[in-house]
């Protein structure tokens, strides 16, 4: 199957087991028929998945996560696409500084962002609101929206746009008919990556969450702080399955490598 020696394959096997073990364990325990944490040795049961329905705070948190993720990614793109085009297309003083600023949420530990936002929103009277949560997520996902759009815009042949202009297109037509369609794959994957970031964010969100407006990872985290029971494993298993499905779709349509390349910022 490969050009690797047997030693390498043993290493690989152990490595893969290490990587998947915690995920598999969560999924297995979720199917336990028992009332306590255990592997489902006496048959599989869906009882803990059914129990989720009795805890509306999980369902509610799931919807909040979905909304925050979808909307904050769109808002981030509304700001990021023009900025990416400006940075990709123009040479101006302060260009480097500006892109460093726009990427800074990657550099700043999320715990610091959480504290800063908590302080900021408390002072401005927005603390504990949906709007505060939304704005903070826009900032956190902004670098991902920016990077993937930027990559698409820089990879684009400029003369295509010049051709459109020479044929008489004005700025808006140019953007709508030529530029946007050409950078669309980057924009869409930027949205997808931003969504996933927002959906997974916990460190910053935990500072801003309030009863009723907390995201799913925050609800799970706070629940685990109190106690670990099969319920939280079944919730986690659901999240894992949903993520896996999204991952496979993304891989099919866009290529996981490209998305992840944006993820870890390795643009070169």
């Amino acid at each position: 199957m490969s050009r690797n020696g047997s030693l390498a394959l043993i290493f690989h096997t152990v490595f893969v087991i290490f990587m998947v073990a915690p995920i598999v364990v969560v999924c297995l325990v979720a199917f336990t028929p028992e009332g306590y944490l255990s592997l489902p040795t006496n048959g599989f049961s869906l009882r803990w998945f059914r129990t989720i329905a009795d805890y509306p705070e999980f369902i509610n948190a799931f919807w909040v996560s979905l909304w925050i993720g979808a909307v904050s990614s769109v808002i981030a793109l509304l700001f990021a696409v023009p900025a990416a085009l400006a940075i990709a297309r123009h040479q101006f003083r302060g260009r480097e500084a500006l892109s460093a600023l726009f990427l800074s949420p990657l550099m700043i530990p999320h715990v610091v962002l959480g504290i800063a936002f908590l302080r900021f929103f408390t002072q401005t009277g927005l603390s504990g609101t949906f709007v505060a949560l939304l704005i903070s997520h826009v900032i956190v996902v902004f670098p991902f929206a920016l990077r993937l759009t930027l990559a698409a815009a820089t990879g684009m042949d400029r003369s295509v746009e010049m051709a459109a202009v020479s044929l008489g297109a004005n700025s808006w037509t140019l953007f709508r008919r030529v530029t946007l369609p050409l950078i669309l794959p980057g924009v869409v994957s930027g949205w997808a990556l931003a969504f996933i970031q927002s959906f997974d964010e916990v460190t910053m969100t935990v500072f801003l969450a309030a009863p009723g407006i907390e995201t799913l990872p925050v609800r799970m985290f706070l629940y685990i702080q109190d106690n670990i029971d099969p319920l939280v494993t079944s919730v986690s298993a659901s999240v894992i399955v949903i993520t896996m499905l999204a991952l496979i779709l993304l891989d099919r349509f866009y290529g996981l490598e490209r998305v992840l390349a944006g993820h870890s910022d390795r643009g070169r």
Binding site: V160, V165, G168
Partner: protein
């Protein structure tokens, strides 16, 4: 009266001068080429005409109107880019129709004109193809049709053929020339290929380091190069050091062991130039440069000789007419007609 005019156009990037003091006037219907080595400022000049680069100084006029304040989208020029710059998300027909759409041409007329344009470039039947699924030559034709369908005042071509293979390039040259003749659009072509420039243009503008070296018909620029640069850039040239002696009984031009009547207007040390195909072989008694043949290369329709002359190396090209040719190592005399020879003061010409 000139149709497109460039007056003292300059472009500086920082302190790098890309284009310096270009003066050029193109008449209506003319096919003109900007020819020069890489980096000499051809594209920059073209982009200034198109409006994508603002000149640092000078003015560009089209049909008597200063283009300085006209936006690129309002100039009404047709441009074919080196990369073709087709819209990858649109079909061939949609690409061609784009410019008409921008001009608000009604759908019915648009379809008609797109169909005509496709026929003109020999692509009927390819209307619904996307550029990615077309060959280089086909894409090139779509780009040409897209630029021509808007009936531009001027057609600007930036190395449109450089991505094609040699055979296709020749075919497209002929086609391009035919199309341009038949619709009579004023055309500016950028190229670094001298044969392409010669084959297509009414006049050639030879550029070097941002400046114009010479403007003339293909024949003029080849036969009467204005500078050393032009003569070297347009085909191969032999150069020998010589001397114009006005003190002798009759003024004469001496190079090595041969001499000719002195040409007018020059004196002192000179450079003698002669094209390889104008050089012939003569016997010991002829008035010619002493030379020994170091290499004889057969190239199908002609022979190429590398020689070591008394005045330095030289090359000679002879048609393959079937006659016997000198062999390697043979001592010969290189002879040419006085009128085929160029003479310029030594050190002159850049």
């Amino acid at each position: 009266m000139s149709f497109l005019e460039l007056n003292g156009v300059c472009k500086r990037f920082g302190d790098h001068v890309a284009v310096e003091d270009i003066n050029l006037s193109v008449t209506k219907g003319e096919f003109i080429s900007l020819l020069g080595p890489s980096g000499c400022g051809k594209t920059t000049t073209l982009q200034m005409i198109a409006g994508f680069v603002d000149p640092s100084a000078g003015a560009i006029c089209l049909n008597g109107r200063d283009l300085g304040s006209v936006k690129p989208s309002k100039r009404g020029l047709g441009i074919v880019f080196q990369s073709y710059a087709l819209f990858p998300h649109m079909t061939a027909a949609e690409n061609i129709a784009f410019g008409l759409e921008m001009r608000g041409v009604p759908r019915a007329e648009r379809e008609l004109r797109v169909r005509d344009a496709l026929v003109m470039v020999g692509l009927d039947g390819y209307a619904d193809r996307h550029p990615r699924r077309m060959s280089g030559g086909q894409q090139q034709r779509v780009a040409l049709a897209r630029a021509l369908v808007i009936k531009p005042d001027v057609l600007l071509l930036d190395e449109p053929l450089s991505n094609l293979d040699a055979k296709l390039r020749e075919d497209m040259q002929i086609e391009l020339r035919q199309i341009q003749r038949s619709i009579g659009t004023t055309t500016v072509l950028v190229t670094h290929d001298q044969t392409e420039a010669m084959a297509l243009s009414d006049r050639i503008v030879v550029m070097s380091k941002g400046r114009i070296e010479q403007i003339g018909t293909p024949h003029e620029t080849y036969e009467k190069p204005a500078s050393a640069f032009v003569s070297q850039f347009l085909g191969k040239t032999n150069e020998f050091p010589g001397e114009v002696d006005r003190h002798a009984a009759s003024p004469r031009l001496v190079a090595g062991s041969c001499h000719w009547p002195a040409p007018a207007g020059v004196t002192g040390p000179v450079t003698v130039t002669v094209r390889p195909e104008k050089v012939g072989f003569g016997g010991e008694t002829h008035n010619g440069l002493k030379a020994r043949i170091t290499n004889r290369i057969f190239q199908g329709n002609h022979w190429l000789f590398q020689c070591e002359t008394e005045c330095g190396p030289a090359i000679v090209v002879r048609q393959n007419t079937g006659e016997a040719q000198p062999t390697e190592g043979e001592n010969v005399r290189l002879v040419w007609r006085a009128e085929d020879m160029g003479v310029r003061p030594r050190g002159a010409g850049r």
